[in-house]
């Protein structure tokens, strides 16, 4: 079902998720993707409009995830957005496998949104970005196929995953150079100090 669907990631979502991963280089990080489904005739496109970083420690613990899901869903409903996916960055540099924890959370989101996407940060591509030489998005896209397992798409060369703004990588590279990742706040940070806002308002001003 998801094979004919395209995924378009906005700059805001993309930059947020990479900065989040960079802020916590020695642990796994994850977060939710918010967006909407756009139908243009026969093609369906999932527009990923925003991302909310969730946690950077003890990702396997579920209570915080539950609370985050409830509050995030409610907040974004008012903007006409819903949870359309999940992103994950592995702890180890060369680990490009989608782990069990990520799959489980992905499964849960899939129940509400059958075209759910899981984006896994690709550290090799991110490394290239750091040297200013990357053109592709530094993430891998996984969708659920009919056999109920998460499969990487786009590996056969098809362009299912695109960045909405082609300058996204350049902007990201700028932010990396200026160490912008220090300012990003995730839901974990919020739970430790509720005055920190997981919506990250003003991050890109």
């Amino acid at each position: 079902m998801a094979a004919d669907c395209c995924y378009e990631v906005s700059q805001i979502a993309y930059v947020k998720l990479v900065l989040h991963a960079l802020k916590h280089p020695s642990s796994a990080v994850n977060g939710l993707l918010l967006g909407r489904l756009r139908q243009d005739g026969s093609t369906a496109t999932v527009e990923v409009a925003d991302a909310v970083p969730l946690s950077h420690a003890q990702i396997g613990l579920l209570p915080a995830l539950e609370i985050a899901l409830i509050q995030i869903e409610e907040h974004f409903e008012a903007e006409g957005l819903s949870v359309v996916g999940y992103y994950h960055a592995n702890e180890r540099h060369n680990d490009l496998e989608l782990g069990n924890a990520a799959k489980k959370i992905g499964d849960h989101i899939f129940r509400y949104f059958p075209r759910a996407a899981v984006l896994l940060l690709d550290n090799n591509k991110l490394q290239k970005l750091k040297t200013g030489k990357g053109r592709d998005p530094a993430v891998q896209l996984y969708t659920r196929d009919s056999s109920r397992s998460w499969r990487q798409t786009g590996s056969d060369g098809s362009n299912q995953l695109t960045l909405k703004e082609p300058t996204a990588n350049i902007v990201l590279f700028d932010y990396i150079s200026s160490e912008k990742w220090q300012q990003i706040v995730d839901f974990d940070d919020h739970l430790d100090d509720i005055s920190k806002d997981w919506l990250n308002p003003g991050l890109f001003d």
Binding site: S26, A28, Q58, I59, G60, L61, L62, P63, A64, E66, I67, L69, I70, Q71, E74, H75, E91, R92, D95, G99, N100, A101, K104, H108, Y112, H190, L191, D192, I194, S195, D197
Partner: protein
């Protein structure tokens, strides 16, 4: 674990040193004591001191400790060349600055200082940083023969397993280590975290139980134990709360596998969230949320049972009130979200 006051002092010093206000040595000593992971800063300021001959000679004997600290920082920042230089310097009693000379000294040094455990460990870590796992393991095996009770080397072996992604092997090693060194709290915590990442919540809970027994006043362990218990229940029943908030009860009932096991876990979790709140003076946001989630889940699971078995305490509504109060003062923008969440859980009106 770092106390709040010392953490604040560390941050202040860091800002001061970053802005050129001096105090680098004090900062580095505090980092050594508190062990936060600030490798890029340590590397920068440590190198600055070491490259300045006057500052270096002021350190006297402490100079070698600094070399070691900077070497560790260099490993973390993947600056292998820096680390190479320093692990060699540590074995050298003289200040030889030429790199070529240093490289040549490797073989001579291993012959000259064969028994130095500390330097041996650094050499092992250098190999680790270069991803030469087999070589590193050989170095550690050799060191272990002469020093069979060296805790750090055992931990390096766990680190190697973890770095290669062999979590099951890491778990094995850690368990064997803990059989010998049962009172090593850091090791219990590390094991618990690995179990959590493998979603083995029951085993993680067991580790936290050990920690609770030996350090019953640390609120962090109470919280972690509660979360591990709650995760066990949530996993089994499939995200109870979200389902019942969004769908009709019928859909929810299909999903929930009601078992005594699930309820027991929730009750345990609630108890330990409560003890976390007591220990932390009511300030722990996660514990307050935890109580709300647990109570909502428990009342959902015990629906239809007789009244005596139902929970009857003020705890959930008190926790809800505490959260609302806190959000009102410190995060007013999020107050509406919290309000509606608690209303749905029937914990506030």
């Amino acid at each position: 674990m770092v106390g709040a006051e010392e953490a604040a002092r560390l941050d202040r010093l860091e800002i001061q040193v970053e802005n050129g206000g001096g105090g680098a040595w004090e900062y580095l000593c505090l980092v050594r004591k508190l062990k936060p992971r600030r490798s890029d800063k340590v590397l920068k300021h440590g190198l600055a001191i070491l490259n300045d001959p006057k500052a270096r000679s002021n350190l006297g004997g402490e100079e070698w400790t600094l070399y070691e600290q900077v070497a560790f920082a260099a490993f973390d920042c993947q600056q292998h060349n820096v680390a190479k230089v320093f692990s060699l310097s540590l074995s050298l009693p003289l200040h030889i600055k030429s790199e070529k000379h240093l490289m040549d000294c490797v073989a001579v040094l291993s012959k000259e200082f064969p028994g130095s455990l500390r330097v041996g460990r650094l050499e092992g870590m250098l190999l680790e940083a270069e991803n030469s796992w087999a070589e590193a393991e050989k170095v550690y095996a050799r060191l272990l023969e002469d020093n069979p009770l060296d805790q750090i080397i055992y931990k390096r072996k766990v680190a190697i397993a973890k770095a290669q992604g062999d979590l099951k092997v890491a778990v094995d090693f850690l368990n064997k280590y803990l059989e010998i060194f049962m009172s090593d709290h850091d090791a219990w915590r590390e094991l618990a975290e690995i179990y959590v990442s493998l979603q083995m919540y029951k085993q993680a809970a067991f580790c936290y139980e050990e920690l609770l027994l030996s350090q019953p006043t640390v609120s962090l362990y109470h919280l972690a134990y509660a979360e591990a218990n709650e995760s066990q229940c949530i996993e089994y029943s499939g995200f109870i709360i979200l389902l019942f908030l969004r769908f009709l009860l019928t859909a929810f009932i299909e999903q929930v596998l009601y078992t005594m096991g699930g309820l027991e876990n929730l009750l345990t979790a609630k108890k330990y969230y409560a003890s976390t709140i007591t220990l932390s003076g009511g300030k722990n946001t996660r514990a307050l949320y935890g109580i709300c989630l647990c109570s909502a889940a428990i009342s959902q699971l015990t629906k239809g049972r007789s009244k005596e078995e139902k929970e009857s305490s003020d705890l959930p509504s008190l926790a809800a009130e505490a959260l609302l109060r806190d959000y009102k003062y410190r995060a007013p923008k999020k107050l509406p979200l919290l309000n509606s969440m608690l209303k749905n859980m029937k914990l506030s009106s």
